[in-house]
Subunit: 245 residues, 6 copies
């Protein structure tokens, strides 16, 4: 199986981290194709940056989905996910979506932990969009500067363990570490936290494999059927081609 | 007062219609500046097209908001609205948001009527995003082809009157005509429908004026404070400038 | 335009304050007609007092709406609003409703601040009645005596600024100052609070103007059509006349 | 035990019917004191009439609660119920509230049936106010004229049996006959309907007895503590006295 | 009237306490038949123990309901209640259900207090199952060991009074003491708590009497009609007989 | 990997079908251990039968989970799932849960289709328990007798295709075929239905593999920690052992 992992952030170092975790987490025989956004923010943290990220996600999928069995939108909060699901014929999953749904099988309420308060509103809207507010014990954010987006995971590991304790006290049965820059950390910290942790990249990769294995048909009805033909201008040829079908 | 009306669709004829209705509906002394998306879909109907529309909205605001007192995102379902509210210092309202909130002051439940079933999923997500599903009696769509997006309002007027009757029977106290191509029609049909109708462009223009008149400060806290500085690449200079603040 | 501003409280001094703020906030050319309840509580704070206030609201509208283009129920939590909307042919808005809906265009979640804990249950029921609990970050009340209802705004101004800080920390993007006795204070304190503030009287006046400008028809269907004829006894002749239509 | 049954409608014939059903349904030894509103509508059907009914309810309780162990607000949708609960020291229940909560112990979802579509919006708001929309399969109304409010029960009995069938098909496990003019009918029709029926007067009387038997204290905290002292003018001496405590 | 009170816990001492409170709380002339689970947990605190308790409830009802007018499932959170309601022809109520619905007539939001944190998840699911999360101000649990399940009420009485104060500060209008081992305590502590308290056994007994008095028919439609005939094996003869009808 | 698939129904033929589909759907190298309930109903359709099924599930897990990496509760609506998750150290998933969460990654709203109306209430409660009512377009049931539970899938295949059409018209983006007796049918009918279909056994098997691959720790905090030690009597030695830990 061949999985496209599309990072809507422009930082190659984050893509490298994602790819490493994806390769460690995937099933034997799965090939990971990891690509980085060609435009937008170094890392997406706000609604405004997510608008660019959604466009970048579609661009990446248009350029690289060919020959893949499924795709992962590799930014937590899943910019462009619904749009991608309309346009593509292969399954597409988001890191936030996949980790929240996986967490629902491990506990009654999950908490999302991340490294910067700036991410909270966007994550909150993502929880609500997925209709999972009733399963969410809260979004818990560190509120302090960090040195570099590519090493924030290691820098803040112990602070996140402490934050997990607060989330558990607030009712969380499961902890999701949100944000692609934290990929892999859930495995490293598993022994230090009293409830199961979900690594968002690993969950997304496994869920993408699951969807591909179930071989769902591309809908020709319902809200994820392909958009009808329409005049689209001013975008990359690859993406324009994707709209043409 | 100077209002920017940004059409995220690329069809100039729709912008012309919006501008005409906006000028008829605004308060004396308000100047309407109407602009058309530089890229994207001729008219937005799906999540995928809305991703492009959101980017186009930000681009339009970056290029034209200077000197305006408020702005209107002139596509029903409001692509890029939250992002615009983060980035701009002037109030920004969306056509869907403004018409739904206005409708809430005219009745207990509103219905949204539009001319194509393709629009339904995107509108539905917009209602839910605004937390107004409990105030919505349904989204009612015509399910038949139309001749041209610039004349669909006149072509389908009587079909929409009949559809309004169905919406009222389903519990609607107020009818919103959704979709920029229907701008102005609510006034023309008012006598033929048994409950109040809301014209989405007129509502958005009046609400933008209201917000401007109330002179709200740009937040420096909360979820609509400006995003912090970040490296953003590959977008238009004007929009990049908007991200810089 | 001529706006009736009906204060369901019996304190003339509160009406005077409301009228002053309404005149400062309205559009050029709008005339404000401010009237005071003929019976009921000096200021409404509980469900029991609101029952009297709702009746007083209808009485005021019956006596004074003639010749007006729209009306405002000028007590936060809007006693009698739905009833007024059934009986009258002109638009009627409530202070709570108008300020909450306005706040929804300025942020994701609003908080309501007021000067007495006694008001909290009634306000909470009003938020829920409007279906806006999901948009409300909380109702925050001072819990301490005040000297006089006509000067509580000035007396508690700085305490409310501090309370706004707590509301923002709890997730509020916008602050509504609730309660007619606080009319005008949102403008005075705007610079001291980190998010936009909404003055409830100003919002209600502007929204009443907006509705009047949109010229909605009086419904003859739906839940706000006029009640059918019925024998009504024991109330003021003016109000009895309003029920006769 | 002595139960006050307060009819906020002004029709004595409806009070007579309510009293007859109450006396048949109460426990041995319970005395029913049934009283009729001194002002307001012959029967309440809309929000506007309910405003008068709420005031009338308080007036009745102020004049007649003395010496009673509990009180019933005997109009479906419970005008003035929350206010009464603040002011009185004895338990007060409403017909709608009592029958809905009783129905919750007989099935998963209840339906409310009544004899006139005019009642639907007010009933719907009552269901929502009680937080029971998730337990309600719908409000089903006959849509046809009736001859007299005092004999509508007998006139429409068989039409209501047919309507019950529709409600069951829509998911109702229990049928509530709403509206004081239908008092008693649920017992008469029990054999003709495939699910349990709840008579709203009988349920209210039994629930009032239950509350009285449990001897709950009058709260001195929480949202149903008595309102603090305040200047109240222009109302009946008895009701003014109730506000004084 | 003859009421079956079925304790799904295996501790006879808890049944004795329940029976004592039930006999003190029931109407004159009601006979209480109290029985104890033949298998399962000494007291149910978790989902796993509740699975056994649900089976034990059905077994008790199968063996003892004959000749009774109504039945009470006497463990808070009501194991097996829905199943019992399908199988039996007499009304069945649960302690949690009855006390929550009773509390809804005494206040806007209730809190549930209990003696062990282990009970919280199960109680929380019960509140949600009943669709009453919007009426619940929280579940408050003591977090400390106790000496014996049969005397935990007396041991923790004053700790529960303090906990009630916290619940009231968090918005509770009414306090429910949850857990059969606390039966009777609400009456003893009534004077020490500022809002009404509901004893869950007393409420369940009175509600069972109320349902019996209303004489609801056994449904032959809806979701509580009897299950159709089916091959059931490996259970007690009495329970197998109940499935046979 | 070794997966326990526990059928809480007592019909071996259904277990055989489940096992066949599970083996076709699992990843290479996964071993399926399929076991059948030792007591209870031939197939579970109601709340009462599910009480027995929950107990039977725990019994099966107690006897067979040893040496397995994860377990599946193989009856749609997942009897005993939460309890199993408390007691076991390996991941446990339910057919309903797994298929609904999987469906959420394929569309906005799913519909559940099944072969008998008797199943609807239990399925509905399962959807609500999972907090997914907002993602569910409805439960659609055939309403007609069938010949045998082991061949109902083949017998009703074309009726279910027609029913899927109705579900799609009602807003479903994805179709779940619910009920273990329908296992495998989703794959056979995929070409005949316009949206993706989810086979509940296949989804559960793949999700169980996913959870096992993620290696979540057994919680020692939160609501799925193991119950504390307690006296449990009257159940099978294996299950008693599971409670002892």
């Amino acid at each position: 199986m061949r999985l496209l992992v599309a990072n809507p952030n422009t930082t190659q170092g984050v893509t490298d981290r994602i790819a490493r975790v994806a390769r460690a987490a995937c099933a034997p025989g799965t090939e990971i194709v990891a690509v980085t956004a060609g435009f937008g923010a170094e890392y997406i943290a706000t609604r405004a940056e997510a608008v660019l990220g959604a466009h970048a996600t579609l661009d990446l999928l248009a350029n690289h989905a060919q020959g893949c069995d499924a795709a992962v939108v590799a930014a937590f909060a899943d910019p462009g996910l619904g749009a991608a699901r309309e346009l593509l014929s292969i399954p597409v999953v988001g890191m936030a979506e996949a980790s929240m749904l996986t967490a629902c099988m491990l506990g009654r309420r999950f908490a999302i932990l991340t490294f910067a308060v700036a991410l909270e509103p966007w994550y909150q809207e993502c929880v609500e969009y997925n209709g999972l507010a009733g399963r969410c014990a809260g979004i818990f954010c560190l509120d302090e500067p960090f040195q570099a987006i590519t090493s924030v995971a290691e820098e803040k590991a112990q602070r996140l363990v402490a934050l997990a304790g607060r989330a558990i006290a607030a009712g969380a049965d499961v902890i999701i570490l949100g944000g692609a820059p934290l990929a892999g950390l859930a495995f490293d910290l598993a022994e230090q936290v009293a409830v199961p942790m979900v690594d968002a990249v690993a969950a997304a990769v496994r869920q993408a494999e699951t969807l591909a294995a179930l071989r769902p048909r591309k809908p020709v009805a319902g809200t994820f059927r392909r958009p009808g033909p329409k005049s689209i201008t001013g975008i990359s040829p690859a993406l324009a081609g994707l709209f043409k079908g």
